[in-house]
Symmetry: C2
Subunit: 765 residues, 2 copies
């Protein structure tokens, strides 16, 4: 990080507090800019907790393809904004936070002055289009608020949001020729045919409505909008960039490019024209809906009826304070405060509310449903988030997590395939990544007593999902206990993940007293053994004939049966039974040595070319924290009798992988999973096997944390002798009694109480 | 017509009756096959009166373009079926009746046996695809019922319908390899990008739902469906013909081609597989909705819950008898019976019901609306149908016509452009043809006391529509009283039609006592004078500088300022004031001679190449009956003191232009306008100027007609000495008193009573 960046980050903090004080305004420590450089894939714009609108700047308009071939640069733009870019093309209303594949970017809005430009222009020559240069010196990103000076147009752009409405405030210079561009072509991960259809109607001189339908990561997705201007536009127009328009001869009776209120096509950009006085503010409110223009309008009028930017900004920031205030912390450093609350901010972005103010949403069946008695959510990046994000929610957001499980059950009910979500957003399944980890989220919520729906129906949904023989090797897995390498490119990952998921299903069955189901799935949960090669002590692709794949590289991912993790990382993936894994690997000592080797090995450069989503900074030795499969590994020392190594590594990872800088995240934040790891680990414990009610103890990084639980109770984490050197836990007391086995029960947290860590610079061997 | 055809038509009549008898089963005289050859553009399939479903065979799958250029052959397939074709590709559920441009063709279904074919194959080699040969000998088309033997597959296909459900019954041979194809790519006037998106979900082994979204004549149109099979399919699959499928990598985890229940794309065909016993019947019910899959399912379950083909067939035919029975007739010949009831059948097809059983429909604003207190209709081919179809409805279908006007007002209210429909279907305006003839339909309904909505709102909608300065020369028309030829390719037609429409607006204003509005519009109604060139006695394009276009051809249409009619035909288009036109043309004698010349001139072959929608059979001299602008002309002799010539020409046109043969219509039936002309003229009167309450007397072709009016009264047309030679009206008595001025008032019909024509072989000069 340059000194300049560090200086900037410090400057943007609204006040300096004594570390030992209770945090009254935690939102001030949120720096949405963290993760916007390199691999974090976060966005700096404005959103409210779990809001449906994520209003954020875009710094380029890359296509998914160039001349029909995948454009590798598009990957960097998963969140639309790159910190290293010099220009902004506009502000769009929907973004994923931290993903490694992408979609969305609906309804790009850009204010300009001067000659009307209907193309964005290039980053090298922004004057060739409507885009503008900007500088980080004139940019502020806060929880719920974003501000930037668009220098080419001398316009100050400010953004805030309500759950379903993006609110823009543009301060213009004096101009006879001011414009607000609405780009309906723009999209994230855009390709030639991604825009399936767009429709716009100009209702009057300050209101337009319409929709945009895309075929992207979400295969069949329509977002409706209602867009209102605080000042009537004096004129408007559009350009349809789709050359091919056969069969519309009769529309040519009109001049449809100027002041024409009824537009439809695939590639439309609109402009709205104004005369402005110097420093005149024009506000734009853009409400979205997954259901209809009428609902978008209702969302607009329900959530943001006024023309009062400050009010909505304050409202958004109060909401962030309310949510972030569920944990008060004291830390060793200002940076730790920033990292903690920024992580917490990142965990409270996805999943997002997916229903209108009237409760309606479009389901997996493309029908309109109404969420009765719960809030319906979307954006389930489950391969990532089952690990720590949903467990974190079970502690700090139990009502929302319960509703998220209900949303997943609604997905199951509505889907003709009768499967729980794998990776779903906007009423679509996109099938990204491996496993059927919904079952882990369901199990975790049910085991922890946090699901108010019908647990039998949930179990049935888990079973049905796990029995989809045609999906990703499940048939072979069911028949043989493993997926033959010939049949599936990620045969080992899948086998390991299914085995863990099956254990999660077994936990639900046990809780419901379904012994047969329990027995069946607990047996399946041992399937990891089938891809474990005892002769080398690693997980390894197995062929149809039962022999292990000959040509095998422990450090490669692709072509070796793994996804986002090599055998070195995946070989430790038996979270459901670490003891058995340790035994298989030759006992505590050998196992610990192997972990030591993982954390200390030197990797060749070739490795990085071959591994997705991470940078060299996302790696410690051969341990890949930037991807998720290894997230529990540091805690496995606990199971091998060397808890001090867990403590050391956790503190090391916290320091190395999370830094209060734009490039401070070592990998994709993945809808908050990376951040949830940070929070758990900072607090001193981690859910190694979601679906169990136990947490494994690490080493707290906070000095103190007070968790204000929804049940009204308070769980306090205290430390004694805490500092950056005293990273080892001498002992830990729960309510004054020693904690056993480096393990904490969920109920012990939810009962309220105090967990006190006595810290030391010496490992307690 | 070949003898064979004549024989076939006679055979299909279900019984022979004495011409003098009351008709108890008028549907037996309906021959939907009439108009399916040459220019009629009717379809032979099954529909109920004004039904939303028109289930009919398609005989080819032509593309709108070939190598990016318009394919002129596609025009012939406006209704999907050509009598001269030898093969059928399947049966689709939506069709226009008689149009000269097209759209629709949703959800093509085709039963097959033998090797699965996913392409239709060619007409020359039907064995290369799923299509089949058929023969008219094994084909029956009745009102509400269609039957054909698909000889290549040895399958008997039978079709019937409820308002919103197409009902298929396929009688299979014994086969292990029977299929029902669902082609979601097929469409009428199909071009490369017409299919915007399709979506299908297989709900269970006998029910699928989904939608098809198109960008065609209707720019933004989605039809949802629910399709149910009487027998569970043993397997199913699909082929997606869209080569380009970027960005869907994760879906490749599945084999989506076989038994995969969740499909989406642009070019999908599906197959459903069965084992059949010999003569086993499999039924298919396909419900459609403009709103949602859920509504389609509700339509299915509300209208057609049973598996009883005979019941729905009987129901459809009873409904036709009920509607056709509103007029009982006696005729001179069997052919006249067939022509009359087939014409009546064709008038009762369009407009079509456009709302679900729960009243919901998608409006012009792409929002979902509910029709409260009226039936919502679509398919308004108003340039055609304002002339005689809607006037006919004001007599015989007043409730429906009132609802149609309400539907047009809903269109106005929902449309961002605030215009009444020009040519609209499925919640879309397509802007086809000239004028703003909605105002005529509104005026006719209001003047005749048949509109129960707010007439002031209706007048305001008319005014707003007539003031759209940017539409088709209205600005110039308003400022100058005519449209300069430089500005608009159809400047004369438009000027003439606007002038008539303005007269219609004036009639509403007069009725509402709005003197200012009346004065303004009655003045505009004289604008026809501005394009009348007294030096030649014809309508003629006028230039911006006020001079008439020099290079001018009375017989050309294109490039001469006209549309679907040359100056010879359009010069008589002053229906609002024939007397003034006669005066301008030099008085009764000169005017009559000019009419004589029109009806007797010889046209060069080049004329036919230049004139749309008609064949040589659609022309009498230079009078083009096959297009609409001349439809009132035969009645103009009445206004020039030579009513016997009206009588003679009307009878001549009735004979020449309407024949009980597949090729018996002289031009496009145009959603019933040609047929409505037939009915009025057969009954002995015609609405020369809709919006007036007067009908002009012609010469009845029926012997007797009894109109059973909705108000419970009966209006009887009697003739004395009626036969094919006695074509002249000696005198006409209304309720025993002589009719004056060859004119009949609307109220005189609605009061009930008897109009007696005394016929003679001698003109009464």
């Amino acid at each position: 990080m340059s000194l300049k960046k560090a200086f900037f980050l410090t400057l943007t903090m609204m006040s300096s507090i004594s570390n030992a004080q209770k945090v009254h305004n935690p939102a001030q420590y949120v720096h949405p800019i963290i993760g916007t450089e390199k691999m974090g894939h976060t966005y700096p714009g404005a959103t409210v907790p779990f809001g449906a609108v994520q209003l954020s700047p875009e710094t380029d308009t890359l296509s998914y393809e160039i001349n029909g071939k995948y454009n590798p640069n598009v990957y960097k733009y998963c969140a639309g904004y790159r910190y290293e870019d010099k220009t902004i093309v506009g502000f769009s209303h929907t973004h994923f936070s931290g993903t490694g594949h992408s979609d969305l970017g609906d309804f790009l809005v850009m204010p300009t002055v001067g000659k009307l430009q209907m193309n964005p222009g290039t980053a090298e020559h922004p004057e060739t289009g409507f885009r503008s240069r900007f500088s980080h010196d004139q940019e502020t990103a806060e929880a719920g608020y974003y501000k930037v000076k668009l220098t080419d147009h001398d316009i100050l752009a400010e953004l805030t949001a309500t759950p379903r409405v993006g609110i823009h405030q543009y301060t213009f210079p004096k101009s006879d020729d001011a414009h607000i561009i609405l780009d309906l072509m723009y999209g994230i991960y855009n390709y030639e045919d991604k825009n399936v259809w767009t429709y716009v109607r100009v209702v009057n001189d300050h209101l337009i409505t319409g929709f945009r339908q895309t075929n992207g990561w979400a295969r069949t997705r329509t977002v409706y909008f209602a867009m209102e201007f605080s000042k009537p536009f004096k004129s408007y127009g559009n350009k349809d960039f789709d050359g091919k328009q056969p069969y519309r001869g009769f529309w040519r009776k009109w001049n449809m490019n100027e002041n024409f209120p009824e537009l439809a096509g695939k590639k439309i950009r609109m402009h709205f024209d104004f005369e402005t006085q110097d420093q005149e503010k024009i506000m734009v409110k853009m409400a979205i809906s997954p259901v209809s223009q009428a609902n978008a309008l209702e969302n607009l009028n329900t959530e943001a009826p006024e023309w009062n930017f400050a009010k909505y900004r304050n409202q958004a920031q109060e909401e962030w304070n309310r949510e972030l205030g569920k944990i008060d912390i004291e830390t060793n450093s200002q940076d730790d405060l920033v990292n903690f609350y920024t992580s917490m901010y990142h965990t409270f972005i996805n999943p997002t509310v997916y229903m209108d103010t009237n409760g309606e949403y479009k389901g997996l069946d493309q029908n309109i449903h109404k969420a009765e008695g719960f809030t319906h959510y979307t954006t389930f990046s489950l391969w990532d988030t089952y690990r720590a994000l949903h467990p974190f929610f079970n502690i700090i957001q139990p009502t929302r997590n319960n509703d998220m499980v209900k949303s997943m059950m609604a997905h199951y009910d509505q889907f003709s395939l009768k499967m729980l979500p794998v990776w779903s957003h906007y009423g679509n399944e996109n099938w990204c990544m491996s496993g059927y980890h919904s079952v882990s989220v369901l199990a975790d919520a049910i085991i922890k007593g946090n699901y108010t729906g019908d647990p039998e129906a949930a179990l049935n949904a888990c079973i049905a999902t796990s029995e989809k023989r045609n999906y990703e090797g499940i048939g072979d897995y069911t028949d043989r206990g493993y997926i033959p390498a010939e049949k599936n490119g990620t045969s080992v990952s899948n086998t390991l993940e299914y085995a863990y998921d099956d254990w999660a299903i077994a936990q639900i069955a046990k809780k419901l007293g379904k012994t047969d189901v329990y027995n069946k799935y607990i047996k399946r949960s041992g399937n990891w053994r089938n891809v474990f090669d005892p002769s080398i002590g690693f997980m390894r692709p197995k062929l149809e004939d039962g022999s292990f794949k000959k040509d095998f590289d422990l450090q490669s991912t692709h072509g070796q049966g793994f996804i986002e993790g090599n055998s070195w990382n995946y070989s430790f993936f038996v979270p459901q039974n670490p003891k058995a894994l340790i035994e298989a690997m030759g006992g505590n000592k050998k196992f610990s040595s192997k972990l030591d080797e993982l954390f200390s090995m030197h990797l060749p450069d070739a490795f990085f070319a071959d591994t997705e989503d991470i940078t060299r900074e996302g790696i410690i030795g051969g341990y890949v924290h930037g991807n998720e499969p290894a997230h529990h590994i540091a805690y496995l020392y606990n199971f091998a009798g060397q808890p001090w190594k867990t403590q050391k590594m956790v503190r090391h990872i916290l320091k190395m992988q999370y830094q209060a800088r734009p490039d401070g995240l070592g990998g994709n934040d993945d809808c908050g999973q990376m951040s949830a790891w940070y929070i758990f680990s900072s607090l001193g414990f981690y859910p190694v096997a979601p679906g169990s009610d136990e947490y494994s103890i690490g080493s707290p990084a906070v000095r103190k944390a007070v968790l204000h639980l929804e049940n009204g109770k308070t769980f306090t984490i205290n430390t004694v002798n805490q500092n950056d050197k005293n990273i080892y836990v001498e002992k830990a007391d729960l309510n004054g009694k020693p904690l056993k086995n480096y393990s904490l029960k969920h109920q012990e947290i939810m009962n309220g109480g105090t967990l006190t860590f006595y810290m030391s610079a010496q490992p307690k061997k």
